[in-house]
């Protein structure tokens, strides 16, 4: 059988459209974003960290943050639990007297650069971007300052410059994105003297972490913090003590932030589409009910009026008939009376005449 060029091209087009449609439908149905494939990350090994605060110093320097009140060499700062603040993108905290641990354990706190960041999902001006290299960055030029990102972040990382009256910004670790783009390591990774920080592709880091846990099962807790927490993060932590001992939440779950809110967002088209229809329907029903009530009332009034009229007419007719009869009776009576009177008069006349006749005769 012969196929014309036109038919063949038509088939080709249809097939192409079919596959592309199929793909997009599939993507919409079972989309499962597990992060950019070549995403970079950093693995923090709490068993290696010596708490020297060099990373804090490097972070402060490369990000040109204001100098702290106490120098970075002052380790007494670690006596207090600290968090990120508007002048500090990252901190090291020391945790003492952990059961099972020989000495203090240190933990590094900075933005974990989530695979599906809560801050980016929550921002109503898209001031946050998840870059394909893994970094979650912030654009102050559009930020309104609503601080919903701070509400949303499960790791309590973003901070705010409350003391700036006119240009307050969200402050948070950038994964040293400007340095990454230049091919340099993040400041903290570059300086770490204890190799507690390992930089690389996230999927490699997961392998490295598993290898370490596998090689030294007694030394590590069998969990990579950040592999699944809140949908996964690009910065990962492994530790020799339970993560909760290092102030890390173990109850965050594995659901990413967009997953938590997509149900609520999906209600929008339902309400926007269905409500006007339903409400117009309710309005129409109430109008119709009113109209029918009005019509029924009018009909009832009509009927009542007609009946009243008929009754009145009947009554009138009856009254007229009665009046007629009465009149007749009255006339009859009058006639009778008149006749009687006349008869009486006649009798009297006759009597008078007969009485007068002899008188006449006699005179």
């Amino acid at each position: 059988m012969s196929i014309s060029r036109r038919t063949f091209l038509g088939w080709l087009g249809a097939a192409g459209a079919g596959t592309s449609l199929g793909r997009s439908a599939h993507a919409a149905g079972t989309a499962n974003f597990t992060g950019y494939p070549d995403s970079l990350g950093v693995l923090f090994d709490a068993t290696r960290c010596i708490g020297c605060r060099k990373c804090e110093e490097a972070c402060n320097r490369v990000n040109e943050l204001p100098a702290p009140a106490k120098p970075f060499s002052d380790l007494a700062v670690l006596d207090r639990k600290r968090r990120t603040d508007a002048k500090t993108y990252m901190v090291i905290n020391r945790y003492d007297n952990i059961p099972g641990a020989k000495g203090p354990v240190y933990r590094k706190i900075q933005c974990n650069h989530c695979l599906e960041p809560a801050c980016a999902s929550a921002c109503f001006v898209r001031a946050f971007a998840k870059n394909s290299n893994g970094a979650v960055t912030y654009d102050e030029s559009v930020c309104v300052g609503c601080r919903y990102c701070m509400i949303a972040c499960p790791f309590e990382i973003p901070t705010y410059e409350y003391d700036r009256a006119f240009t307050p910004r969200i402050m948070k670790c950038t994964f040293c994105q400007p340095r990454l783009l230049k091919g340099q390591l993040p400041g903290c990774v570059e300086i770490c003297p204890a190799e507690a920080l390992t930089f690389g592709r996230r999927r490699h880091l997961l392998k490295i972490a598993r290898e370490r846990i596998g090689l030294f099962p007694a030394r590590y807790i069998d969990h990579i913090y950040g592999e699944t927490e809140m949908g996964g993060t690009t910065w990962l932590t492994i530790s020799g003590v339970p993560f909760r001992e290092l102030g890390m939440r173990e109850d965050l779950g594995t659901t990413s932030a967009p997953e938590l809110t997509k149900g609520a967002l999906s209600v929008v088209p339902i309400v926007a589409g269905l409500w006007p229809v339903l409400l117009t329907g309710i309005y129409a029903i109430s109008q119709r009910k009113d109209r029918i009530a009005r019509e029924e009332k009018a009909a009832a009034v009509d009927e009542a009026v007609t009946r009243a009229r008929a009754e009145a007419k009947a009554k009138l007719a009856e009254a007229l008939a009665k009046a007629d009869k009465d009149k007749k009776a009255a006339i009859d009576k009058e006639v009778k009376k008149a006749l009687a009177d006349a008869a009486k008069a006649k009798v009297q006349e006759t009597a008078a005449a007969s009485a007068a006749a002899p008188e006449k005769k006699s005179s």
Binding site: A122, V142, C143, I151, Y162, G263, A264, L265, P276
Partner: protein, 389 residues
């Protein structure tokens, strides 16, 4: 009733005016500090507690209590309950003022208030529930403004414009209900993103539904509550229609509130089962949760029902005030008290006096604006030159 304009002038220095004047002066002073020194000088907000009472009270409570506008206009114009007609204008007015003040208060709270239109004109973050809130509040404020204009136009004597606006009543009412459903619910849904920060007794996948349904209760109760106050202070402004319908409005709205509260109570209990949060009931937070659920949901539900059955307006009016307080308690719980419950008490938030000052200032502005409008415009009475709409 134009003749009332010639009533004897009241003295300007009434106790109310003096107190309001002091509040306004303090408010203006704090405003100056806020916009020259920043949030740090006027608030106790911190990196752990980015939202304080300017969100918890001014936004969450403010929007809920301004729900009377959509509830009343829907009842009258959509559900055909014409006997509530005299309640529509005061409810629309309070709704409009409420939303206007919410937006005003947001200018204090956000870091760069002049950028508030950015989500619409520069870059939209449509994955954010806050975007939904912002879009709906902005649109609904516009709707409320248009719905309010007939009163202002009658006052100004612009008959043609008023006729045009009147023709929009149905469309505006439907639009108002759609927008209110969306943003009332999404105010609750704002917290869905933070299951690790909100106490399990208050965190629920139904948060959006809870906020929407309780906003209906808030709207109904606010109408009764406000009308109680209006009867006390603006009785002379009310026409016979308003006075005759007022008791019926209280009874009808009280009845509706009893039903909605019953539904809300059932939903809350089902929510507890859904998140299996029963075990928390025996904790301190659990006790407080029970106070909210039994004391501010079930109790007013019963009280409304009894008030309606006995036709006891006094009970209904007290219940309305109690229910309004219950809405405040609920929004405070979700936004402030049960939020960040995992933090040590040293990191918890308590408002700075200037934050409270601004909230009081904003409410006072609302009361003053309400008073000005009801004493000048046909809100509590129908203008004799115009037909009912």
């Amino acid at each position: 009733m134009p003749e009332r304009k010639f009533a004897i002038q009241k003295p300007a220095l009434t106790p109310f005016n003096v107190v309001a004047g002091i509040i306004v002066v303090i408010g203006v002073a704090i405003t100056g500090i806020r916009f020259t020194q920043g949030l740090a000088a006027t608030t106790n907000l911190s990196d752990y507690n980015p939202w304080g009472i300017w969100i918890g009270f001014d936004l969450l409570v403010g929007v809920a209590l301004a729900a009377g506008g959509y509830v009343t206009s829907a009842a009258c114009y959509l559900f055909g309950l014409k006997r509530f007609h005299s309640a529509v204008r005061p409810a629309i007015l309070t709704g409009f003022l409420g939303y206007a003040l919410v937006v005003l208060a947001l200018h204090y709270d956000v870091g760069r208030p002049w950028r508030l239109p950015y989500p619409f004109i520069v870059q939209s973050g449509t994955t954010s529930l806050l975007f939904e809130v912002a879009a709906c509040v902005a649109l609904y404020l516009t709707v409320l403004f248009i719905e309010f204009t007939p009163a202002a136009l009658e006052w100004l004597g612009l008959k043609r414009a008023r006729r045009i606006v009147n023709k929009l009543t149905l469309v505006l009412t439907i639009f108002g209900v759609v927008l209110s459903t969306l943003h009332q619910s999404s105010l609750g849904a704002l917290f869905l993103i933070a299951p690790s920060k909100l106490h399990p007794l208050w965190y629920s996948p139904y948060l959006a539904l809870y906020f929407f349904v309780s906003s209906i209760v808030a709207g109904l109760s606010m109408v009764i509550f406000e009308s109680t106050l209006s009867h006390r202070y603006f009785h002379d402004k009310m026409d016979t229609e308003h006075l005759q319908e007022a008791d019926g409005v209280a009874l009808g709205f009280g009845k509706a509130a009893a039903f909605v509260l019953a539904g809300y109570f059932v939903m809350k209990v089902i929510g507890l089962a859904q998140t299996n949060a029963w075990s928390y009931l025996s904790t301190g937070y659990g006790l407080w949760f029970l106070v909210e659920l039994l004391g501010f949901v079930l109790l007013p539900c019963y009280a409304y029902a009894i008030g309606v059955r006995e036709k006891n307006l006094k009970v209904i009016r007290w219940t309305a005030a109690w229910t309004v307080l219950g809405i405040v308690v609920n929004r405070f719980n979700v936004g402030l008290i049960a939020f960040n419950w995992h933090l040590p008490s040293s990191e918890r938030y308590f408002p700075h006096w200037m934050e409270i000052g601004i909230s009081v200032f904003v409410v006072t502005l609302g009361v003053l604006a309400y008073r000005f409008i009801v004493t000048h415009m046909p809100i509590l009475y129908a203008h004799p030159d115009y037909d009912k709409h």
